[in-house]
């Protein structure tokens, strides 16, 4: 919006004789150089992704020269039974982690916001630890735990480790939303004849819904393509896709990796798009703020 306005005023000023052109007073809180930063940010973020996506359609093995369009690397990806199994494993990990992690994280948020006990106050700090723990430490400690209790490494162990890691993300997001809900709103619902369950269903969940959806999508995106934790806790086979890619790279970089990378990127983008679109579809326009930081209308 502001970009079109600025563009418009620039074209108009071309018709004004130079002598009449006066410095237009500008907002002090919108320095021009921020635009340079913005475009630089976009280029640095997306240029490598564009290159990967482009070369995934290359007709030759070259990673430097684009010869022509072809889908052979996608065929190689989906035609490989190992890779297919890995993709399925990653999707399974993502889904299970999303469902269990979101449920546990949401209930934890309820407990932390509502309970006034000393345990809850300690919990509020303790739950931040997984967020600041280096992922490699989380992975190694999960591996140590599983070997200590003699649990065989498999998809299940990856899921347990990923769920443990993801609960905090859910709790942070849902807790913020829950804290913004005045406790009198729940009182009001009960005062007007709603039972505790009805209060949860009719008043609390409609407010939390966008935060829950957002954190579920985030958890899926994080665990679907997570490498570090999965690397330490994975069993023999099938291994999750990122681990599979890592082990195949040891035998030289194959163009198939571009196809896999592009595919995973598209999946992640779709998930994020879904997280933004769902609250809109369900008619909570003001809830977009949860995800894209816009002020509530």
């Amino acid at each position: 919006m502001s970009a079109t306005l600025a563009g418009h005023s620039r074209t108009r000023s071309l018709h004004v004789p130079f002598s009449l052109r006066r410095r237009r007073p500008r907002d002090f809180d919108r320095p021009r150089f921020l635009r340079v930063f913005f475009w630089a940010f976009l280029v640095f973020t997306f240029a490598p992704l564009v290159v990967v996506a482009l070369f995934s359609f290359n007709s030759t093995r070259s990673l430097q020269q684009f010869a022509g369009f072809s889908l052979q690397w996608y065929e190689a990806f989906f035609g490989n039974a190992n890779l297919r199994a890995s993709l399925l494993a990653s999707a399974e990990i993502g889904l299970v982690t999303m469902i269990v992690g979101t449920f546990l994280g949401t209930t934890l948020a309820f407990g932390l916001v509502r309970a006034r006990s000393r345990v809850a106050r300690a919990g509020n700090v303790l739950m931040l630890i997984p967020l600041v723990t280096p992922e490699i430490v989380a992975g190694v400690s999960a591996l140590l735990l599983f070997t200590q209790i003699k649990m065989e490494l498999s998809l299940a162990t990856i899921m347990i480790a990923e769920i443990t890691f993801s609960i905090s993300f859910v709790t942070v997001i849902v807790r913020a939303r829950l804290a913004s809900l005045h406790h009198e709103v729940e009182d009001a619902a009960m005062d007007l004849g709603a039972t505790r369950l009805e209060t949860l269903r009719l008043v609390v969940l409609p407010r939390l819904w966008p935060a829950i959806v957002a954190s579920a999508m985030l958890v899926f995106a994080l665990s679907f393509d997570d490498f570090v934790i999965a690397f330490f806790t994975t069993g023999e086979s099938p291994t999750p896709l990122p681990v599979q890619i890592y082990s195949s790279i040891r035998f030289g970089v194959q163009p198939t990796i571009n196809a896999i990378g592009t595919f995973m990127l598209v999946v992640s983008f779709l998930i994020v798009a879904l997280a933004i679109a769902l609250p809109r579809i369900f008619g909570h326009r003001e809830e977009e703020s949860v995800l894209i930081g816009r002020e509530a209308a």
């Binding site: 005045h182 009198e184 709103v185 009182d187 009001a188 619902a189 009960m190 005062d191 007007l192 004849g193 709603a194 039972t195 009805e198 009719l202 008043v203 409609p206 407010r207 909570h284 003001e286 509530a296 209308a297």
Partner: protein, 359 residues
């Protein structure tokens, strides 16, 4: 409206939170159709009292009767009371209509009756035409009205209001005070109104209970509370009060710190030598030329002047640490060059009957 019988009775109600006693031994009964206010400073237990009636808190001791029935085993959602919350507590995801209809829908009232009653309630609070707006699109005063309509539409036997006007600006607050009172007369529902604003309580209530530190200090009609406070706390909390420490010298006579002795009507049981507090309302004090021969009169020096527009408040030093605050109507001195300055000598006077003795 059948304004007979009691709507609510508190019998020795005490509420403790751990070691803190929020409400202590509360025993009052509130009549049907009454506008009853709980007045007191923050933390005096008035909101806790309200929350016990609503069912959000359980009394530690004692009983609460609603329409003659004890309610300790009745959950909030089954009590025939509704609350207007301080924060309004509107449901942000529902529009105005959805908010107001919420209670009726829970009680499975038929669809067409809901529509009719919601329209009536919105008309009562003058919000017709805003049915489809979301709370975020409304001003503070409009949200307040939605909260009121949402509660009233259920026709509760008692409506609880927890400082409902606290967040509004002064002008809107005055306007809503008048409207609340007229709505209450119109619907004839018992209102229990919690406030820390003495003026609000005085202007709207049929009766006021003044609370402090969990106890009801005095309970009665506004005039009684204002004119005949039974203790220092009530006299000091409601309006500005001049309190002078005095000693009883003879039946019907007291002497204050600066040696002035004057007649008062002493409460029963006061005897010579007792120390009492003498209270005089600032607006009952005559200044200078207003002082007549039949008044108790005293001389002093002006210590401070506060111009309030409608009137001027002057603080007069009587010597020996005794001070009186008096109010002078604006029609006496309207010009800046004709006003009281600190240090000027002034004579104050009052009628003996306007002087109240507190023990």
């Amino acid at each position: 409206m059948t304004a007979t019988g009691e709507a609510i009775r508190f019998e020795g109600v005490t509420k403790k939170f751990g070691s803190l006693t929020a409400v202590e031994d509360l025993s009052i009964s509130i009549n049907r159709g009454e506008f009853f206010s709980l007045l007191g400073p923050s933390g005096c237990g008035k909101t806790t009292t309200l929350r016990m009636v609503a069912g959000f808190e359980q009394p530690t001791e004692g009983r609460i009767y609603l329409d003659g029935e004890p309610v300790e085993h009745v959950p909030p959602y089954e009590r025939n009371v509704n609350t207007v919350f301080q924060s309004y507590a509107l449901f942000e995801h529902l529009d105005v209509e959805g908010n107001v209809a919420f209670g009726l829908k829970r009680r499975k009232v038929p669809e067409d009756e809901i529509r009719r009653r919601v329209a009536e309630a919105l008309e009562l609070v003058q919000l017709t035409g805003r049915e489809k707006q979301k709370p975020s699109q409304l001003s503070g005063g409009q949200k307040q009205r939605v909260a009121l309509a949402r509660a009233l539409v259920n026709r509760p036997s008692v409506l609880l209001l927890d400082e409902p006007l606290g967040a509004l600006d002064l002008k809107l607050r005055k306007q809503m005070q008048v409207e609340l009172k007229s709505i209450q007369r119109e619907v004839g529902i018992t209102f229990i109104y919690v406030t820390h604003d003495q003026e609000e309580a005085l202007s709207m209530s049929d009766r006021i209970a003044v609370m402090n530190e969990g106890r009801v200090i005095q309970c009665g009609p506004p005039e009684d509370i204002y004119e005949r406070p039974t203790g220092e706390f009530v006299a000091g909390f409601i309006g500005i009060s001049n309190l002078l420490s005095a000693t009883v010298t003879a039946p019907g006579r007291v002497r204050v710190a600066n040696g002035l002795e004057f007649p008062v009507s002493l409460p029963n049981g006061c005897k010579a030598g007792d120390t009492v507090n003498v209270a005089i309302r600032p607006e009952k004090i005559a200044i200078d030329e207003e002082v007549t021969d039949d008044m108790v009169s005293v001389d002093g020096r002006v210590e401070a002047r506060v111009y309030l527009g409608v009137m001027t408040q002057i603080t007069v030093d009587l010597g020996h640490g005794a001070r009186l605050v008096a109010l002078e109507q604006a029609w006496h001195r309207a010009r800046a060059d004709d006003r009281w300055e600190p240090g000027m000598r002034v004579r104050l006077g009052w009628e003996a009957k306007n002087c109240l003795v507190l023990r």
